[in-house]
């Protein structure tokens, strides 16, 4: 099949991929040609439509083949060829409008058309007409149609001769045809398409000639040639798209632009009136015509299932209109841009564009209505859009686009070649680059794509996380220690050995067995805190507190964890309770104050307690935590140092000191404190993570990555650390490792970032 070859990999065309899934152009061709393999008999009108499209494609192919060697056509020439927008931009109209020279463009077109593989086309032609039954030989020189035979064949031959007539430059002689049984819709379709075709074939001839030809055709077919009466139709829409796209790919200077504009204006209302276009359009379709027409087209197209190929054009149309909107955004003030920006993002969030495997894919026009209404809302219907541009006059509009082309020369090429590969991820980058005219830098474009990825990932994990958010403990699945005779003991052993994650499992088994075991819960909480999971720590500690409200360690741990989470009020309450329940200091803390606590008061009480028993390290520890809460870091550091003098081998105390120093941006001191803690307890995940934080806060991102990875190796569930790792990776410009981070691939990370 010559045509298919041309589409899928002929000499001059660099069409990526030949499978229909990745090559929309090929798919279109397949649909057009291959659909004849279906058992159903194509309705004449659809056949006609396909014929037309075949013509267009084929002629476009010819034109392109001729054009490619000539350098005058810019790069978009060959690129456009491969694009999904192919059916539109490659329509003969575009070439003809560029090259408005006298002298039989029409005939040249057909010559080219003919010079190609006639047999191939004949075959194509035949296939469309159900080869088993009608072997219809292609007679190019035939000027008079066959008037007998099945309606389908008649119609096609009739139409074909119409085309032929253009070659000879001879007027078309209408001859009456028997009733072909064309429905209204069919007629309208034919009318529109014929006008398009005619205009392109006879572009070099006068408008009158064109109209005459079309009229001849239509009268034979008994169709009313009333342009205005046309309702919203694919044909009309496509035409509009065509012309709009002409402006997109237009490279040559004003002369062609003028020609196009005047022709367009002529066609519409017969006189050059800048507003006529908008008005006539409005008349026909209402103020929101364009958008509603698009909507209509979408629904129309979905019902024409034979036009499988049309799915791609409509997707292309959708993308094009998006492109349209996007280019519009370029031209207007930042407000406009921002709203487009928002639209885009809301579209993303709504799922009109879905994300799979790091690629953004449009969900096939699932919400044309949404888009249309969005567009309408955005632009106040077609009117304001038209007004905006028409306020510059028709030439102005074209000039704007031309200059737009110069400024963003690569826009179309990129867009088109991207769509040919259907790699919309690139488009996202492109969009990111273009919207705001460089406002979004390279990095953030990447970030955008990643962000959407994350967004979806987040959606799946958010359920899981919401349970732990407020004090509900989440048990691990597949706990090997369940059924163990004495899991508490086991847990304590493991904890002592420093195997925190294992200890957690054992202790979970314990509290599943004995939910009232305060010690079990307490130790579980401590294990989680040391594993750098404050959420679970809080959940465990609260269960422990339920069982034993007076346990001081529990109260302190709760105070610490809440301070870490910056939950000031709760932390204060717990620390105050520590004082209340302490056998020695309970007298200092009047219980009635518990409901309205102020730092100053509580701090005073603690200081009193410290004076009472200066050798009590715990008082100092709690005081230190308290000062952290009020961000009086110097005092906190002092308290901790005092406590450390009394308890120098308390690793968690060293960590507290380090954290306080880090939070007051004394990072160097913090690191040495952490080191002390790690010397005492090598598997202290929290300390490792804190090390990472301190390096990151100093801007030493490379180092921080190593520490984070180390912490994560010990506890892969430390979500905080994963997030910080991600930030550090991006700060260190190690985006190559970002995937490993997102997929939590510790092996890769450990290999890459050893300590």
């Amino acid at each position: 099949m010559a045509m298919r070859e041309l589409v899928t990999g002929g000499a001059a065309c660099a069409v990526p991929g030949s499978s229909s899934s990745s090559n929309p152009f090929g798919a279109l061709a397949n649909a057009l040609i291959g659909s004849s393999s279906k058992t159903q008999v194509p309705h004449p009108i659809h056949t006609y439509a396909r014929i037309i499209d075949c013509y267009f494609l084929y002629s476009a192919v010819q034109e392109r083949l001729k054009e490619i060697p000539t350098a005058t056509h810019t790069t978009s020439g060959s690129n456009v060829y491969t694009g999904i927008g192919e059916p539109f931009t490659a329509l003969p109209g575009s070439e003809f409008d560029h090259q408005l020279q006298p002298g039989g463009q029409g005939s040249e077109f057909l010559r080219g058309f003919r010079s190609a593989d006639q047999n191939g086309f004949a075959d194509a032609w035949d296939e469309i007409h159900n080869p088993p039954v009608h072997r219809f030989p292609l007679e190019h020189n035939q000027l008079q149609p066959e008037v007998d035979g099945p309606p389908q064949r008649m119609l096609s031959s009739f139409l074909h001769s119409f085309v032929n007539s253009s070659h000879g430059g001879l007027p078309f002689h209408p001859s009456p045809l028997p009733v072909l049984g064309l429905s209204e819709g069919d007629k309208k379709c034919i009318r529109d398409r014929s006008s398009i075709m005619a205009r392109h074939f006879f572009a070099d001839k006068s408008e009158d000639f064109v109209n005459a030809q079309v009229n001849a055709l239509l009268s034979s077919l008994d169709i009313d040639n009333d342009i205005r009466a046309a309702g919203p139709l694919p044909g009309r829409f496509r035409e509009l798209e065509e012309y709009w796209n002409d402006s997109q790919v237009m490279k040559p200077g004003p002369h062609a632009a003028d020609g196009w504009i005047s022709e367009f204006a002529q066609h519409r209302v017969g006189h050059v009136d800048p507003n006529a276009w908008a008005h006539s359009f409005e008349q026909q379709h209402g103020a929101n015509g364009w958008a509603s027409e698009f909507e209509h087209e979408q629904s129309q197209i979905t019902t024409i299932d034979q036009m499988r190929g049309a799915n791609i054009p409509s997707l292309a149309a959708m993308e094009q209109t998006r492109m349209l909107a996007h280019t519009l955004a370029q031209n207007n003030d930042p407000k406009f841009q921002n709203s487009k920006f928002l639209q885009f993002m809301s579209k993303m969030s709504r799922g009109e564009i879905t994300i799979e495997d790091n690629q953004v894919k449009p969900s096939a026009y699932s919400a044309p209505g949404d888009w249309a209404s969005e567009y309408q809302r955005q632009y106040n219907g077609g009117q304001s859009w038209a007004d905006q541009f028409l306020s510059h006059g028709p030439h102005g509009w074209v000039n704007e686009f031309s200059t737009e082309q110069e400024r963003h020369g690569s826009v179309d090429d990129q867009w088109v070649s991207e769509f040919s590969k259907l790699h919309v991820n690139d488009w996202v980058d492109e969009f990111g680059r273009q919207v705001g005219e460089g406002a979004l830098g390279e990095d953030s474009a990447d970030n955008w794509a990643n962000a959407y990825d994350e967004y979806l990932n987040e959606q799946t994990t958010v359920k899981q996380r919401s349970e732990t958010s407020r004090g509900v403990y989440v048990f691990s699945d597949l706990n090997p220690y369940v059924g163990h005779p004495n899991p508490l003991k086991e847990g304590q052993e493991l904890f002592r050995k420093g195997l925190l994650s294992e200890a957690v499992l054992a202790l979970e088994a314990e509290v599943l067995k004995n939910p009232d075991n305060a010690e079990g819960w307490r130790l579980l909480g401590i294990a989680h805190a040391e594993n750098d999971d404050d959420q679970q720590a809080i959940a465990s500690m609260m269960r422990a507190q339920e069982v034993d409200p007076t346990n001081l360690e529990v109260l302190l741990a709760l105070g610490v964890s809440h301070t870490n989470e910056l939950e000031q009020a709760a932390a204060l309450r717990y620390l105050y309770s520590w004082l209340q329940y302490h056998p020695k200091y309970s007298t200092i803390a009047p219980p009635e104050l518990a409901d309205s606590l102020y730092f100053a008061d509580v701090a005073r009480f603690f200081n009193d307690a410290a004076i009472m028993s200066p050798e009590d390290a715990d008082v100092h520890i709690v005081l230190g935590v308290l000062y952290n809460l009020s961000r009086e870091y110097d005092k906190a550091i002092e308290s901790f140092k005092t406590a450390l003098k009394l308890k120098p081998r308390d690793y968690s105390l060293w960590n507290k000191l380090g954290a306080t120093q880090a939070n007051s941006v004394q990072s160097a001191d913090a690191i040495s404190a952490y080191q002390q803690a790690l010397d005492l307890k090598p598997n202290y995940v929290r300390a490792w993570a804190n090390m990472g934080i301190s390096y990151a806060n100093q801007g030493m991102y490379e180092e921080s990555i190593r520490y984070y990875v180390r912490a994560l190796a010990m506890n892969p569930k430390a979500d905080n650390a994963w997030q910080y790792l991600r930030i550090s990776l991006s700060c260190a410009s190690r985006n190559d490792m970002m995937d490993a981070c997102d997929s939590r691939n510790l092996d890769v990370l450990q290999k890459e970032f050893p300590l």
Partner: protein, 124 residues
């Protein structure tokens, strides 16, 4: 120096203030050089806001609306959401998409507002 604010974000702001005085903070000022105003509301955006100005031109954090002209970008958050964004738990783009973060002013300036600007809190 104690802050009377109840917001979590206040703690982050204080840490930021200290951070800007350090070397890393000075690098940040060099790198960004913009003025951000951040309106933080306890529960619902725009209600009972506390306003902070993170001035990455001068390298300071102040409380109250920006007096020295117009900030390059103004953000509005709730306390929880700002905390999440600043600690990297939530991506700013996602926050924006969800409406958890509102932006006014220069978009390019807003793009530079990333979690890595803020120093992370260490855990005791």
């Amino acid at each position: 120096m104690a802050s009377s604010s109840e917001l979590k974000s206040a703690a982050l702001m204080d840490q930021m203030k200290l951070h800007l005085a350090s070397d890393a903070g000075k690098d940040l000022v060099k790198k960004i050089g913009l003025v951000y105003q951040i309106n933080i509301a306890p529960k619902k955006i725009s209600f009972n806001e506390e306003i902070y100005v993170v001035d990455l031109k001068k390298g300071e954090v102040t409380k109250g609306p920006y007096e020295g002209g117009k900030p390059d970008a103004t953000f509005s958050f709730t306390d929880q959401d700002f905390f999440k964004v600043a600690t990297g738990k939530m991506n700013p783009q996602i926050a924006f998409m969800r409406g958890a973060m509102k932006v006014k002013g220069s978009l390019s300036a807003a793009q530079k507002f990333t979690p890595d600007i803020f120093p992370k809190p260490s855990k005791m």
